[in-house]
């Protein structure tokens, strides 16, 4: 299937001379949830803003659902919904007015029933006549989501949708995103919560200093870069690792009571059975064991540190 968004050789240098993006090429697959990760100032918002038509690119082309975002901007933009990072609302307007404005702006005929559904899904229905300034921050964010969903976009950009949002709302939002995905919407989100990417994303892209340094299926990424660790708690402290076990990548904990076995990097298959058998042969008694996996967070921090 053709990608729903196709970005090639995109670059952006702002008027002040700041280069925010360098030669980005990226395809987003139809119906996936794509998480864009990167530290502050990496260029995530810039990338999203260019696709949505808010920032003009310095070089490169972008197709959204087969439509050039510059030459064929109407067809491209009709398909795209955006929830920006910043909370920007017109304080004195009502929820109802602002959400209906959004639908109209994107060329859709009025549809009160649909707007009602969107507002109900976001628990905003009983605040529909309220001025936006009277809502809490989390509710304002939901208004922004309602605006983006009001025109039934096929592609939805969520720029840090859960920044400054409480746990419950975050859960709600994840559920909403899954629900949207199930109905065929492609979702591109940025986040600083790795937990979120780990939980939601099908694929992950990491951007740093304007460069896309990695794009990978989430499970493959975890497999490729994830490390596993087997920690063996010993019945009696060990002075040093016996020569018979030298073939294994073992380390002894500082208090000499635990043996740590690292494995699984780059998909290597471990020989845990053999290790346990050799431990018995060497007369070492294990009283407990546990395994740890590195999280996306560890992977991410490792990646960013590696780039100069």
């Amino acid at each position: 299937m053709s990608p729903i968004i196709s970005i090639s050789h995109l670059a952006k240098t702002y008027a002040g001379g700041k280069t925010a993006l360098r030669d980005i090429s990226l395809d987003i697959r139809r119906g996936e949830i794509f998480a864009l990760l990167g530290p502050n100032g990496a260029g995530k918002t810039t990338l999203i803003s260019i696709v949505c038509g808010i920032v003009t690119p310095s070089a490169g082309t972008i197709f959204a659902d087969g439509h050039d975002i510059v030459r064929d901007y109407r067809a491209a933009r009709e398909r795209i919904g955006l929830v920006p990072q910043e909370l920007t609302v017109e304080a004195f307007e009502t929820v109802w007015a602002t959400v209906n404005l959004s639908r109209g702006l994107f060329g859709k005929p009025p549809n009160p029933a649909l707007i009602e559904k969107v507002l109900r899904d976001l628990s905003l229905w009983d605040r529909k006549a309220s001025q936006i300034r009277t809502l809490s921050g989390g509710m304002k964010r939901r208004v922004m989501i309602a605006k983006a969903l009001s025109h039934e976009p096929r592609i939805l950009f969520l720029d840090e949708p859960t920044a400054g949002v409480d746990v419950e709302l975050r859960r709600d939002m994840w559920q909403l995103v899954r629900h949207l995905r199930a109905s065929g919407t492609t979702i591109i989100l940025t986040t600083h919560y790795l937990e979120e990417a780990e939980e939601m994303a099908d694929r992950i892209g990491v951007i740093d200093k304007g460069e896309l340094i990695l794009v990978e299926d989430k499970p493959a990424l975890m497999r490729k870069l994830g490390k596993k660790r087997l920690t063996l708690a010993l019945a009696a402290p060990l002075a040093q690792i016996p020569a018979a076990l030298a073939a294994y990548p073992l380390t002894l904990s500082p208090n000499k009571e635990e043996l740590i076995y690292a494995y699984g990097e780059n998909g290597a298959r471990p020989g845990i059975g053999a290790l346990l058998a050799d431990l018995v042969k060497a007369g070492i008694v294990v009283k407990d064991l546990r395994t740890d996996e590195s999280s996306l967070e560890d992977i991410f921090v490792g990646l960013i540190r590696r780039t100069p």
Partner: protein, 253 residues
């Protein structure tokens, strides 16, 4: 054409107008009344007639124009400046709308409000003086054309301004003086020849002259010239707006 978008923006803007209509009406009604008291009675007692029209009636078209210009500019400039200021402009920039559609909607809404206020000023003036309107359709045409032209000008200011001071600057520094010097309260025939020639560079002269002609059939410059100049300003503002959107000037980074 994205008609849904034009309609949506127009409705949204008119809702804002409706919320503030009362305070918008108070000001022209009050200032019109004051002008009549001050100019009409004080000066009117010295100048009784201009070109066969009583002074009180003579100043009505100029007064309406004065209100129309300031209202059009402030409505339209605020209408587009505010979304830029609070950041909600992102949505318009990311929507499938063309420059022409955005301008049609915003300028349409601002001009609608100006026309309403112009008619309210006219009604207020009618309480103080009796005046004929010889060419009512032309009167409306000038009213609407001027509202559109200066709403478009206001729209440009709303995009150019990057703070509230600049938003006020042009109306205060340029438009009010031009209106006062544009023959609102006198016929330019009353001026010494040199000043009369200089005044002809003031675009507002043409607007007021044409508008006054639609009331009383008297004018400082030919009606065709007035109409032509009004259309020239309209075209100039339109060209400016289109250039702004083409280049993304002050809207996109």
């Amino acid at each position: 054409m994205n008609f849904h978008a034009i309609r949506a923006i127009y409705i949204y803007e008119m809702a804002r107008t409706r919320r503030t209509l009362l305070q918008s009406i108070v000001s022209p009604v009050l200032s019109t009344s004051l002008y009549f008291v001050v100019f009409g009675s004080a000066i009117g007692s010295r100048i009784s007639h201009v070109g066969g029209v009583s002074y009180g009636a003579f100043i009505v078209p100029g007064l309406i124009m004065l209100g129309l210009l300031t209202q059009s500019i402030s409505n339209a400039s605020f209408g587009i400046f505010f979304p830029r200021f609070v950041g909600t402009i992102y949505e318009i920039l990311s929507a499938p709308v063309s420059a022409v559609e955005i301008v049609t909607a915003y300028v349409g809404a601002a001009a609608t409000k100006s026309v309403i206020l112009g008619l309210i000023t006219l009604a207020t003036a009618a309480i103080f003086v009796r005046m004929p309107i010889i060419h009512p359709l032309w009167m409306l045409a000038f009213l609407v054309l001027t509202s559109i032209t200066f709403s478009m000008f206001g729209f440009v200011i709303g995009i150019w301004a990057n703070n509230f001071e600049k938003l006020q600057l042009i109306p205060l520094l340029v438009v009010t003086p031009l209106t006062f010097l544009g023959g609102s309260f006198y016929s330019i025939d009353m001026l010494p020849p040199l000043w009369r020639d200089i005044t002809l560079f003031n675009p507002v002269v043409y607007l007021i002259s044409g508008f006054r002609w639609s009331f009383y059939g008297i004018s400082d410059v030919g009606v065709a010239i007035s109409l032509g100049m009004t259309l020239v300003f309209l075209a100039a503002c339109l060209a400016l707006v289109i250039w702004i959107f083409r280049t993304g000037y002050r809207l996109k980074t």
